[in-house]
């Protein structure tokens, strides 16, 4: 039993991290109806810039703060150079633009900082919590716990921001109907910059946490691929959905790997989430929390 719980908890904690990456997608999708293919590149860029600056002798906290400011500048550049010219275009054009953006960001990040894998130490120990291990026999890493708390706090704050404030309402308004949003005086450029900044900062946090766990390297961009099944299960437009989807994917892939894996030769952790997502697509295509699609004929 303790083993089952340990696998489950480990999975849930990993799931919170998936949710965090998915959250970046949701923010942009919610406000512009666009699937931002560059989200993975932004995760990579954030972690790489922070570690790169640290290697230049900048203290870690300052490096992170500088990267955060840089993220906002990047959001402004993206709005000016890509989103504004493509404003009235169909979503597929914007999607293609984000695809291009992903390669540009990855390329530039590596050109500036090099493509060596780097270690990142956030100063959070990655050892099992002793009291928990002693009392229940379940091993949970301090790092995983802290990372989950940070991710949860971020999800909570953003959820509240979206539902309670004028700017949050403006973001949803732009997503629902841009023309109507303009007519009530919502400043579109500002909204887009805020959304891309928020998505960039979420990507930075995700990049730092994943980077500290697995090293800062190119494979960080692939974390974004895990966000796909999370989004399909949680719904593309729901912040709590990203979180719930993350938990489901995290827990189920670990449990499947341990309990079903041995029966069919193992290694199912890497593809199981996609099978699960496929099943969801058949049963509930809008995801658990997504806006229900109503088709009127």
């Amino acid at each position: 039993m303790a083993f089952f719980v340990e696998v489950l908890v480990g999975g849930l904690l990993a799931g919170v991290m998936y949710g965090l990456v998915a959250l970046g997608f949701v923010l942009i999708y919610k406000a512009s109806g666009v699937f931002n293919f560059a989200q993975g590149a932004m995760v990579f860029l954030g972690a790489l810039t922070a570690t790169g600056l640290e290697q230049q002798g900048v203290p870690l906290w300052l490096a992170i703060a500088m990267t955060a400011i840089f993220t906002v500048v990047l959001a402004i550049l993206i709005e000016r150079l890509i989103l504004k010219p493509l404003l009235a275009q169909p979503p597929i054009s914007l999607f293609m633009a984000t695809l291009g953006l992903a390669f540009v960001i990855e390329g530039l990040a590596q050109a500036v900082w090099g493509n060596n894998a780097r270690a990142l130490d956030l100063g959070i120990p990655d050892v099992p919590l002793e009291w928990l291990l002693d009392s229940t026999g379940v091993g949970v890493s301090t790092f995983d716990l802290v990372a989950s708390i940070i991710a949860l706090a971020l999800i909570g704050v953003l959820s509240a921001f979206f539902s309670l404030t004028k700017t949050g309402r403006a973001l949803r308004a732009v997503a629902d109907d841009t023309k109507a949003a303009l007519s009530v005086g919502i400043p579109l450029e500002r909204v887009l910059i805020i959304v891309w900044s928020a998505a960039g900062l979420v990507a930075l946090v995700a990049g730092l946490l994943w980077g500290a766990r697995n090293g800062v390297q190119y494979s960080l961009t692939l974390v974004a691929l895990k966000a796909f099944p999370v989004l399909i299960i949680g719904g593309f437009s729901s912040i709590p959905g990203a979180f719930a989807g993350g938990l489901i994917i995290g827990a189920s892939e670990k449990l499947a790997d341990v309990y079903i894996g041995p029966m069919i030769g193992g290694g199912i952790e890497s593809w199981f989430p996609y099978v699960l997502a496929l099943l969801f697509l058949l049963v509930r295509p809008e995801g658990l929390f997504g806006d229900r699609i109503i088709r009127r004929v």
């Binding site: 921001f161 309402r169 023309k179 109507a180 303009l182 009530v184 005086g185 919502i186």
Partner: protein
């Protein structure tokens, strides 16, 4: 002349072209404060284009707009909103994923003053302001008799109610000029009567100046003070309902050019 008081809005020689197609050709008319001004005309006459010019969505190639004594040639939709223009759309443009209340609060967007930082930390002014604006929005909801639906997501409401929510959102901005693009399109007689009542009540109670496009002639004749008639992007008549109704060119435009009207 009734122009002792300068008009609130004047359009002078407005021409708008899309490529080679002239949507509006040298159109001039004015709107007095507190007036209900209708723009009518057959399909494709340029009515919606006219509204979009006033609203700043389209920028006319020629002509100028004088609003409240100030001349302008170019204005963004956002600036128009800030200047006191609010509008509804021909095809409902609501925030479909939001509740009725949220839509109406969104209509008051420009009344919010708290900075992004204040909102982010949900502190002091941001919080008080949200409560105050919600209260104002509730008043509009009451005025529009939407209390029963305030927590309903608009995509789940029937068409007629969505039209009413859209008017509520526009009224929530406390506009100086309200632009209504076919507010009664697709409604039954009962719904039209109600809509007329709301439009006139707003005009009488708050003195809102209204420019509306509408196809239902009996409605237009009933509620308008003055009517502009467009046909193929040209202005063919302008005046009080009874003058417009008896105008030969208007009758011809509506019944077809070859027909004789007896």
């Amino acid at each position: 002349m009734q122009n002792a008081i300068p008009p609130l809005l004047q359009l002078r020689g407005i021409s708008l072209r899309f490529g080679g197609v002239a949507a509006l050709a040298n159109i001039s008319f004015d709107v007095q404060e507190h007036e209900v001004r209708a723009i009518i005309g057959p399909n494709g006459a340029g009515k919606s284009s006219m509204l979009n010019v006033i609203n700043g969505i389209y920028c006319p190639q020629e002509g100028e707009i004088v609003f409240n004594g100030e001349k302008r040639t170019r204005m963004s939709t956002r600036m128009a909103a800030a200047a006191g223009f609010a509008r509804t759309f021909q095809n409902i443009a609501l925030f479909q994923g939001m509740t009725v209340l949220e839509n109406v609060v969104a209509g008051r967007n420009l009344k919010f003053k708290a900075s992004l930082l204040e909102q982010a930390v949900w502190f002091g002014r941001a919080r008080r302001e949200e409560a105050a604006q919600r209260e104002k929005a509730e008043e509009v909801i009451e005025f529009m008799e939407l209390e029963r639906y305030r927590k309903k997501v608009v995509s789940q409401l029937p068409y007629g109610l969505q039209k009413r929510v859209e008017l509520a959102r526009a009224l929530a901005a406390e506009p100086r000029i309200l632009l209504l693009d076919e507010p009664m399109a697709g409604m039954n007689a009962e719904e039209k009567r109600e809509m007329c009542r709301f439009i006139l009540n707003s005009n009488r109670r708050d003195g809102t100046t209204i420019i509306l496009i509408e196809h239902d002639m009996s409605v237009v004749m009933d509620i308008s003070d003055r009517i502009v008639v467009l046909d193929y992007g040209r202005k063919i008549a302008d005046g009080q309902p009874k003058c417009v109704r008896d105008n030969d060119e208007v009758i011809r435009a509506y019944l077809g050019r070859s027909e004789r009207v007896g």
